[in-house]
């Protein structure tokens, strides 16, 4: 195996739009009543997210998060909630899978319009230590869909 000793570009990580989502997160707060309520933690770094959403007519009608974490985890949470709001859970899951591919360096995902603004997080993939920060919210969303599914008796939404 070869070790990557190249210098990653800090500018691609801390883009204006990412810092904007960090400083002014969208959809921060709680959703009550809700169909999913997920608390997730990244034990290695202490980042935390609590994600809640409500379904209505088979769509994610409202979604919000609270939590503590770095700019990448907070911006990713903010963008994720923006993206999946109004979508069906299946559409949301498909976006989440695409985002995971983006983090693992998939060039196709970087051009996929379904990821919307979240494509700016592409640069995080060059910082392996930070990938888990970006993925936390998306993992929480996927867990949330499972939870909502279970609580609706497993019937497809």
């Amino acid at each position: 195996m070869t070790i990557d000793r190249s210098t990653p570009d800090l500018g691609s990580l801390y883009q204006e739009v990412i810092l904007d989502h960090y400083k002014r997160p969208r959809n921060r707060g709680a959703v009550d009543p809700h169909d999913a309520d997920i608390h997730m933690r990244n034990p290695s770094c202490g980042d935390e997210i609590r994600l809640q959403f409500r379904l209505d007519g088979g769509r994610i009608e409202d979604i919000a998060f609270t939590g503590e974490g770095c700019s990448i985890s907070q911006a990713s949470s903010s963008m994720m909630t923006d993206l999946v709001k109004g979508k069906t859970p299946e559409e949301g899951l498909s976006i989440a899978r695409r985002f995971t591919e983006l983090m693992h360096g998939d060039a196709g995902a970087a051009k996929d319009k379904a990821l919307g603004q979240a494509r700016v997080l592409q640069g995080v993939g060059k910082f392996p230590a930070r990938v888990k920060c970006a993925l936390l919210a998306w993992d929480a969303f996927q867990e949330g869909v499972k939870q909502a599914d279970r609580e609706s008796g497993g019937t497809p939404s």
Binding site: T7, P8, C45, S71
Partner: protein, 415 residues
């Protein structure tokens, strides 16, 4: 001419030359390594000693009749003598080789703790412990019905000793805490706490992982009962460390792991065990690691404790002046230099420690960010995480200047 007393000096530039890993650029900048609290780098004499061992003397210890086995055994036991001297143990047989501090603490919990604690007995810890000096006791408490109690810290991260008396009782069997806080750099008053704990009839265990690289350790003067150190925090390789315990305690304690090396006579249904310390050293030990740890001790002794202490003090004073002067920076830990080591844990207004660490890394500066395996302490301080710059013998004030410049870069990006 008047006789002059030369102040002990440490030539950082000369020391740096002993550490091959420091002679590199990272992300286009000369490496500034400030993550010594996680692991320190190894000087060339340590690397050479290990290489020489593996190239000339490697064999399994204690059993072989051949020349290489004799040499390996001799080096292994000589390393024990060196580490015993480093800790000022009364006898080398009081030094048990372990993988590191974590294993040393688990060893005590699984042997002494397992046989000494009754339901309702108490273990007094502190809220500033590394998880390695917390979880073994949680597990032991679950198994024995013992109860954990905790000494608090004040806002500067110093133990609140005034709580000691109220927390100690006739049920307190053990008081366990760190000599130096890995997260804050606080030096705890070990001897003073030992006195109070012993008066209450409790034994004292010290997690010395962060003391090894910074302080002159004397287990006899401190008056402790168990003392644990890791080699890799003080220039030795990973995977080697030592547990020191009073001989009479080691004699009473049952074996830790079973296997080869720790036995006397083995029958199919029962066995008798080797003498202390081999009773606790089942399996093939990390001989190369032990050789490396002894070389690290020799290296540090060659520099001299006084020179290391003077260097450390200058870094502490420089950091205590430089870092809090940065707008928006909150420095944790004691404000008085004599109460701490050169470990600077800090938070920046509006910038998460992970982001600080990534931005510093882009400038070739390695620090730690996160909870430092001290989640309860982070909660006590009211922060989710901190950024930690931890210094060692090769750290210069210039490195702290680079740190301050890196912090300014982070503030520009997030400004």
């Amino acid at each position: 001419m008047m006789p002059t007393t030369l102040a002990p000096t440490l030539d950082v530039r000369k020391i740096r030359k002993d550490f091959p890993i420091l002679q590199q650029e990272v992300n286009g900048h000369p490496l500034v390594y400030l993550d010594n609290g996680a692991t320190a780098q190894r000087p060339k004499p340590v690397l050479d000693a290990m290489r020489s061992f593996y190239e000339r003397d490697n064999a399994n210890v204690h059993r072989g009749m051949h020349e290489l086995s004799r040499r390996a055994t001799e080096e292994f036991e000589a390393a024990r003598v060196t580490v015993a001297r480093f800790l000022n143990a009364a006898d080398p047989s009081e030094v048990v080789w372990v993988r590191g501090t974590t294993e040393a603490i688990n060893l005590v919990a699984m042997t002494w703790g397992w046989t000494s604690l009754e339901p309702g007995d108490e273990i007094l810890l502190t809220v500033m412990e590394h998880h390695s000096n917390l979880i073994p006791w949680q597990l032991l408490a679950q198994r024995t019905g013992a109860v954990l109690r905790f000494l608090d810290v004040d806002d500067e991260g110093r133990l609140r000793l005034e709580q000691m008396q109220a927390l100690l009782s006739s049920r307190t069997k053990l008081v366990a805490f760190n000599h130096v806080s890995n997260a804050l750099g606080t030096i705890n008053p070990v001897a003073q706490i030992c006195e109070v704990a012993h008066a209450a009839g409790a034994k004292v265990l010290i997690d010395g992982a962060q003391a090894g690289p910074h302080l002159d350790i004397d287990v006899q003067a401190l008056g402790v009962d168990f003392y644990a150190v890791s080699g890799h925090k003080m220039g030795a390789p990973m995977g080697i460390g030592a547990l020191w315990a009073r001989r009479e305690l080691l004699e009473e304690m049952p074996p830790y792991q079973g296997g080869g090396e720790m036995i006397d006579l083995v029958e199919l249904d029962r066995s008798t065990f080797a003498e202390v310390p081999h009773k606790f050293e089942a399996g093939t030990p990390n001989v190369g690691g032990a050789v490396g740890m002894a070389a690290a001790v020799d290296y540090l002794e060659g520099i001299g404790h006084d020179a290391i202490a003077a260097h450390e003090r200058s870094l502490i004073e420089y950091g205590l002046e430089k870092l809090p002067a940065i707008p928006g920076l909150r420095l944790f830990g004691p404000k008085r230099p004599e109460e701490r080591v050169a470990v600077f844990s800090f938070a920046l207004e509006g910038i998460h420690p992970h982001d600080i660490a990534t931005i510093l890394d882009a400038e070739g500066i390695a620090i730690r960010s996160g909870h430092h395996c001290t989640q309860p302490l982070m909660r006590r301080l009211g922060v989710p995480a901190t950024a930690r710059a931890s210094c060692w013998i090769y750290t210069s004030t210039g490195d702290l200047d680079r740190l301050a410049e890196g912090v300014a870069s982070a503030q520009r990006i997030f400004g």
